[in-house]
């Protein structure tokens, strides 16, 4: 009875219609439909992503608990997932996330200088958020855009061969 290959399912005795928002539930349901009925938990990652986007880029404990309840998973299992993957943020973040790839090809292509530039110019350390709440600056591992080093993901958009000047322009254009 390993929990490795059986669903974790625990039934949450709540009215699912009281959880999250109708729109989020509808979106999550689309994902749930992709998996076998007893494996609703397969939708936990897309669900967390949707909920995070909806919540301004981060996941509160309360929201994670609601996802657990909605997908009939143990809360702990949701926390495990939310803390394992780098794209989930469990603390409030800035309005935008600037994620600079610092893996080897981007590093050889100037990521270090780019990061120093952001750190100095916007007075924010990797992992931190600027004082004005505009951006959260993150050092990311390989973005899979190595031939366009250095690569930067700003929210959901890749920017490639990003120079310090280019990043300033990109950031300027953000609201």
């Amino acid at each position: 009875m390993s929990f490795r290959n059986t669903p974790l399912a625990v039934i949450h005795d709540v009215d699912k219609a009281t959880l999250l928002t109708p729109e989020l539930r509808a979106e999550i349901d689309k994902h749930v439909a992709k998996y076998p009925p007893e494996w609703k938990q397969s939708a936990v990652m897309p669900a967390l992503t949707l909920v995070q986007d909806h919540n301004g880029g981060w996941l509160s404990r309360e929201l994670m608990d609601q996802v657990a309840a909605y997908l009939d998973m143990p809360e702990t299992a949701v926390y495990e997932v939310a803390t394992f993957y780098a794209m989930y943020d469990l603390e409030p973040v800035g309005r935008h996330k600037v994620c600079v790839c610092n893996s080897v090809s981007c590093r050889l292509g100037g990521a270090e200088e780019l990061m120093h530039h952001i750190e100095k110019k916007y007075n924010v350390a990797p992992g931190g958020t600027t004082a004005d709440g505009k951006l959260t600056f993150k050092e990311f591992e390989c973005l899979g855009a190595c031939r366009h080093a250095p690569a930067v993901m700003v929210d959901k958009v890749y920017h490639e061969c990003v120079t310090p000047e280019a990043i300033d322009k990109i950031i300027d254009d953000l609201d």
Partner: protein
């Protein structure tokens, strides 16, 4: 463009960039002909698998396992659901090819997955795409929609009685999910922690059911192999190293690029296609198959061909085909520290040697870089790496160890200099 380029996964590259990923474009290069033929003729899957075996197609994700053989492990006739899963969790530093397949030729991946499903008896497929790939996912999803609308996916396709449903599943930022069993765990809504084997996925994979997992490029190669024959594909490369392969040429080159070229192409030609080492510098070193494989000194690489067996002879691995070029003047200690941090950051944490050892390696390297190295640190690094490699559930342990051992082997003097003088040998120069 040389005529033996872009013959398989990139065969839509010559089309207009704004439309080359559409169904119509794909049809124009012969797309879905194989899938429709299969639906019409319903050939014996073993025939198709034999064709793949003839092609000598090897897994393009990094491990290089023969694809036909892998498919033949599936208990095809066993009742119950079976799955085909595509590993598009491209995250091996230096690798950026699968992203371009999904962006520029998503239908070929769909066709490849459908054919794979037919061959292994799977009526459901999932394409696990890394979470950061918003744009490639949108392309792939768009292609899925087109394929469904065209009746190429779904139930009882073309009245054949064959079903095949295909879904995308997005990751959320974990390199380890590129390991096939970690990917399955992740698909099941869990942390991406690799499973120990046995059982192998072909026995008990996704949801405990028989499952085959292939890399994006591997699956996307299938339609062309069936179209042009396994023999044709094999002849594109070298014996036991069939076909063309996508290479991502990155790092210190003039024109970083993805190239689809025959296996066995000499490295020096590949370097030339990428415009040579950037800034006219000399070639110092090459990591020829993604960050996880041993580094090879530039002069050795210049004498080596780009195929599985030749690179193995040169002391490294073809891996994912990510060729990272390092120019003279680069501090190898810094490069290794960068790699070490990557593996420490991406270790899933379950196996003791990797969880504890990768952080240890990174800290020692940081200390050396900070000028606080000790002479015994170099043996320590080598020994700790040796105690990680081969001792963990998945290959991340090996991936973390191999760079350390190879960098120390080829560039020990740089490490010694840093330890002794507290500053870099090359950057000081």
């Amino acid at each position: 463009m040389a005529e033996n380029q872009n013959t398989v996964c990139f065969r839509t590259m010559h089309l207009d960039a704004t439309v080359r990923y559409t169904l119509e474009s794909y049809r124009s290069v012969g797309g879905y002909v194989q899938w429709e033929r299969i639906l019409r003729e319903k050939p014996d899957p073993d025939q198709l698998i034999d064709e793949l075996k003839t092609s000598a197609l090897r897994g393009r994700g990094g491990a290089g396992f023969p694809t036909g053989l892998k498919w033949s492990f599936m208990p095809r006739t066993k009742p119950g659901q079976k799955y085909i899963v595509c590993n598009s969790d491209e995250g091996e530093p230096g690798t950026c090819k699968d992203r371009d397949i999904m962006r520029y030729n998503p239908h070929q991946l769909i066709e490849g997955m459908a054919i794979a499903g037919y061959c292994i008896g799977a009526t459901v497929g999932y394409n696990y795409i890394r979470g950061e790939f918003y744009e490639p996912t949108a392309r792939f999803d768009g292609a899925l929609e087109e394929a469904y609308a065209a009746g190429l996916l779904g139930k009882n396709l073309l009245g054949s009685g064959v079903d095949f449903d295909l879904y995308t599943h997005l990751g959320a930022g974990a390199y380890i999910c590129g390991e096939e069993t970690a990917l399955l765990e992740s698909l099941e809504g869990k942390k991406g922690q690799p499973r120990f084997k046995p059982p192998f996925p072909a026995q008990a994979g996704l949801y405990g059911m028989p499952t085959t997992i292939n890399n994006t490029e591997t699956l996307a190669s299938v339609p062309v192999i069936l179209e042009k024959s396994g023999k044709w594909f094999l002849e594109q490369g070298k014996p036991n190293n069939g076909g063309p392969k996508l290479f991502s040429i990155t790092g210190h080159v003039e024109r970083p690029c993805n190239l689809e070229i025959p296996l066995g192409t000499p490295f020096k030609d590949v370097l030339e296609m990428a415009g040579g080492v950037s800034g006219g510098r000399a070639l110092k070193a090459v990591i020829p198959g993604g960050s996880s494989v041993p580094v090879v000194p530039g002069d050795v690489m210049m004498r080596t061909d780009m195929d599985y067996d030749s690179i193995a002879k040169a002391g490294s691995m073809l891996g994912s085909g990510a060729v990272i070029i390092i120019a003279e003047g680069t501090c190898m200690v810094k490069v290794l520290a960068n790699l070490a941090h990557f593996y420490a950051h991406e270790s899933c944490g379950q196996c003791t040697p990797c969880r504890e050892g990768t952080g240890w390696l990174a800290r020692v390297l940081d200390r050396i870089l900070a000028g606080n190295g000790r002479p015994q640190d170099l043996d320590l690094l080598d020994n700790v790496a040796g105690r990680i490699g081969g001792r963990t559930i998945c290959a991340l342990g090996d991936a973390a160890a191999m760079p350390v051992q190879s960098f120390l082997k080829h560039y020990r003097s740089e490490f010694e200099h840093l330890v002794e003088h507290g500053r870099s040998l090359v950057e000081a120069a």
